[in-house]
Amino acid sequence: MTTPQQETVPLGAAVARPTTRLTTGHWLLAGAIAVALVLPFVFRGFVIFQLTEVMIYGLAILGLNLLTGFNGQFSVGHGAFFGLGAYVTAIMMQRWNVPYYWTLPPAGLVCFVVGVAFGVPALRLRGLYIALVTFAAAVALPQLLKFNFFEGWTGGVQGIVVNQPGVPAFLPVISADQWLYFFTLAVVLLMFWGASNLAKSRSGRAIMAIRDHDIAAAAMGINANLYKTLTFGVSALYTGVAGALSALAVQFVAPDSFGLFVSIYFLVGLILGGIGSLWGCLFGGLFVLYVPNLAQDISRGLSGVFFGLIMLLVIFVMPSGAAGFARLAGAWVRRRVAPPMPPPGRANLAAPEPSGSIGPNSANLATTPVPEITEQQPVNMEAPNIRKPNRLGDRK
């Protein structure tokens, strides 16, 4: 009997944080979901499709975030898992006549297994060398999909046309686009909820501890190898499910849709959205979908130049991504609204440097967030320590 009682002691500390009271975060979330539910009735077909894509990219970026933002491992090959998930769904639906909603779990599972298979060799490698392994995946996938040995399944270069999921009979009033939007929204919310819980759990803390310092984490009794491998798998699962949804939304899969540039876009979305932030992934999805179009509108011939300039602008204005920017802005507003809240001695501490002023040789502790912000966000899921070239590179 003593053991469970002992376990409730640390849990008591967790209960002290306002789980039952509705915080600003809850209201914001409820508002966002309400807006998301109304949007498909405001806009027309193509915009609904684009919004669906934003959510799908957001989910894929979330998968990458679990790996890079929470676990500190690099991947320039998540487009491969995205493509794999899409192909699993396409093959199951079109070749084996499986209903579309049953194809998501197998797509996720296949990607999980493949992700773990990539996670095992990644264990021996660090930083950029892991990037090379995942990069191999990104380069290999289109070639494998075109390879004539698998052509019976994959359709070779031509790819597979996927039927659009029909509206279920109990909802006759909405269009197929709207139904797919709501279906995607439900899946994405479920997956984000899962990721949020994972990040707050014991496993999530272990994953983040490995990111911050894997040797120290191992010394604290965390099985670093196990967690790293599993994180790779879960990350691939998330991106794979996103790929499966994208097959439904685009209604077509082909090898060249899943080239290296998909992985690059995910990476850009992740960094600009904010490493280690959950909702920042959605901003990343928005960026990845809309900014290339925006650049094309500015100038057709120079779209790449403008896309690059916008990326540079974002990175110079918001070095820690949209989420980091919002966090700083929020802290600033809170300081303005309620100045006497923190003890006077902390007021100076509460003004963090917006850009990375941390040199490669400075101590890791210098990058931990300021106390005031951590108090207001009980579970700090950001990745302050990601800005350390010496950890992700191989030199020191």
Binding site: L125, F135, H213, L267, G359
Partner: protein, 292 residues
Amino acid sequence: MQLFLQQVLAGLANGAIYAGMALAVVMIYLAIDHLNFAQGEMATFSTFIAWQFIAWGFPYWIAFAAVVAVSFVGGIAIERVLFKPLHNADILANLVAFIALFSILNSADGYIWDYTIKTFPTPFGTKPLFGSVLIDSHEAGMIVVIGVLLGLLYLFFSGTRLGLAMRAAAQNPASARLVGIRIGWMTALGWGIAAAIGAVSGMLIAPIVFLDPNMMFGVLLWGFAGAVLGGLSSPGGAVLGGFAVGIIETLVGTFVPYVGRDLKLTLALLVIVAVLMVRPTGIFGRTTVSRV
């Protein structure tokens, strides 16, 4: 046996270019700890400038020298304008900056010189060398030019004060600054040299792969693979890695039956990953020691 030799020599010729790109990547990596994903686009841009010079009627070698100089200055300019402000930012912010630079240069290439595929002249001709069937004169010329370039760089880094200062700045910036080396300018110089090496590689490979805005993409991938295989912290290793990757590529493509042709890239990458399993920091890379 003849086929084997032929393929090894062809691989060596391609490998010379990969070695050039690998060395350019490592130069910048040693200076700023980041992989330059835009290295290939910088090289392509330089090659386009060379094409323009030649189209205006300049002799090949004059265009060659002018472009090397222009690229050197351009590399320094990119460092000063774009990457100096980011030198304290985290690795991922730098990554976005590289991707942005890639996108900008690639799009500018297409805008200025359009996307049609262009032929690029070679000063060596393409006849078989000395009547041999093993290697043609352009491939031999590539190997020689890259070899001379590598030799000059070796002399520069081992024999001159400036080369020593650059090595010191890369190895231990804090101490180097204390003895009066201007770290920032050493970094800029590293960028300049990398851009110049890239330009030479681009001009040498262009007659083989033809000139278009995406010319260097595949080449850079192999350059990366070579750099990683040899070890990112070792310039000599990167060069050897580049040659090795070139030879692996051609041999796999020729001699692995059935899958070799279609899955050449995949198989070659698998070989590299397998090597990394045994030597996790590349063949000549230094092992990392980390303090808890």
